[in-house]
Symmetry: C2
Subunit: 352 residues, 2 copies
């Protein structure tokens, strides 16, 4: 708990003067005022975070956190649990969706085992941060203990710290892998929003109508059995969350404490970001939402944090795929701010 508390205490505000100077430069560029839409305030915030106008997102890392879920025994996913560990190897070998899209975005994918129900070789090039081998089935009690929830968050913080120690990243994207993990993620937003579970639940990897009804019941039961306390984010994470979701929260808190922008991916990554912002509201200033996924709970998470996703390409995959694509747009926004000439620089009269 000490690492978590110390890290939250370290989060400073982005540099407001630089952000203002950036907004001023954007207004003076040789184009109609505001004509580059939402990329303008984003570029200004990135400048405030970096403390300079000419931001370079050279070192971009996507951290894909993996964990298993006891609740899959209730039949909430199309895929068997073994796929979580199999996909970890697919990430490491570079053939997965996030590998391909991160490569296109000039980003590196780093995989973290937070709670996969599998023994990976100790020399597999991943962050070995296993807290336990998958959560317990939350329809029968808490998914994990409170100590394990804190350990999962601190695993994410320690990954941020290790990445900075290696070579400070300019941006961290989040991603997830864990068969069944739209179920705890939906439970988390249901607890915080107090909205009916049926209004928040999506089809995950592609379950049918009967599967969807079952999933709603499973989530409702998990909340009923555990009675998570919405005013205590660690309690919510422990009772109906997931190990990788805890680490995804920790990554956001850790990145914010280091003053690094963090871009969250789909439903699961955003569930982690939500836990982070409930624990440490100051982290919100460093957080960007990449995309709106097809999972219907996602929009309620964004609304609660006041985040406006950049894109909606009808993705519903996770892994960090949406973060990878959106990273290219954040990168483009830094060039808008720094490189487009002002009216004065090109000798055109400003009619704005």
């Amino acid at each position: 708990m000490k690492l978590l508390n110390d890290t939250i205490a370290k989060i400073n505000k982005p540099n407001a003067e630089v952000e203002q100077a950036a907004l001023e430069r954007l207004r003076n560029q040789a184009r109609p005022a505001g004509s580059l839409g939402i990329l303008e305030p984003i570029s200004a915030r990135l400048a405030g975070i970096a403390g300079k106008i000419d931001v370079r997102l050279d070192r971009k890392i996507i951290v894909t956190c993996a964990g298993d879920h006891g609740v899959v025994e209730e039949g909430v996913s199309l895929f068997p649990q073994e796929v979580t560990s199999q996909m970890v190897y697919n990430f490491v070998n570079g053939g997965a969706s996030v590998s391909v899209l991160a490569n296109h975005a000039g980003a590196e994918v780093r995989v973290a085992d937070i709670g996969v129900n599998f023994d990976f070789e100790p020399d597999l090039p991943i962050f070995h941060k296993k807290v336990r081998k998958g959560t317990a089935n939350f329809t029968k009690g808490a998914a994990m203990s409170r100590d394990e929830a804190v350990a999962a968050i601190e695993a994410g913080i320690s990954i941020a710290n290790e990445l900075v120690k290696e070579n400070r990243p300019d941006m961290i994207g989040t991603g997830d892998m864990g068969i069944g993990n739209t179920t705890p993620s939906t439970a988390i937003i249901a607890v915080f929003s107090k909205l009916p579970v049926a209004e928040l639940t999506g089809r995950g990897t592609g379950i049918d109508d009967d599967g969807l009804k079952l999933k709603v019941k499973v989530i409702e039961k998990g909340i009923e059995v555990n009675q998570p306390d919405a005013s205590d984010p660690i309690d919510v994470l422990a009772k109906v969350g997931g190990l990788e979701i805890g680490a995804l929260a920790g990554l956001v808190i850790g990145a914010a404490a280091h003053g690094i922008a963090v871009l969250c991916d789909g439903l699961i990554s955003t569930a982690g970001a939500l836990i982070a912002c409930e624990l440490a509201p100051a982290a919100r200033a460093y957080l960007f939402a990449s995309h709106r996924s097809q999972e219907i709970g996602h929009r309620f998470m964004h609304e609660r944090m006041g985040l406006d996703p950049l894109i909606d390409l009808e993705f519903r995959l996770g892994e960090g795929t949406g973060a990878a694509v959106a990273m290219e747009l954040l990168d483009a926004s830094t060039r808008i701010l720094a490189d487009i000439k002002t009216f004065a620089e090109v000798g055109i009269v400003d009619a704005n």
Copy 2:
């Protein structure tokens, strides 16, 4: 008219077998079926166009077509007409918005003078295709003659031909520059859709409420005075269109005839694409919509062509800026199709 007719006659269908094989490969990739949303059918269409699964969009060109508009004397724009020629120099010097975003996307910007009211130096590195020095004020008669409209379209076709002769591009993006050109673009969609002008008209570079009312009246007057024939796209272009809009139509037709994918930008580029598809419906198969702009007429153009824009970043700039950003997503889609491994390739059982 011969070049136009000959070019339309040359448009073939994309390779349907390759497109089907691409869709099959996407379905077999190690991820939930359909989970990469709209990038999947886009990647398959790009494969059909290229005739192969591993599409490489190495040579990407954005052609920014410039022209002036007599109708600006009615006060429809915030900016004076001289800004059109000044911005041409800004494009050539690489300091404009499209220059910066194209550079980020790995694309080259080529500028074309189709009808700027300015004498450029003959050695300025642009396509010198001036048909006339700006259109006439369409509230007082046709914007241009029928012959000039055909010449503007053929200028766009000749640019596509010259680009292919230089070094065949893998993708062409369209862009525009022309003070006042949201006015003719809105007139064009009003004629084709027969919807009330007031429901289609936006603020262009940023006019206020009074300016917007005036702009609606100007467009209504232009349509009333000229009575363009919606069944004759060249008549529509000549009477209420623009010279650069004609060239933008020609670029789409020319690209399609060469079997090259073409990505259209904002309201003005899409007005050109609309003229192209009305003249040559077969061109539609090669056309992609980059973004939905803040200009309200834009969505009606997309609807008429059955195009679904990739992004909505609240842009309202033109120049090719939306095309530049969306090009990165089309490029990413080609990697999705070719590089993500299938279930069989990574040894995971397909539960889809």
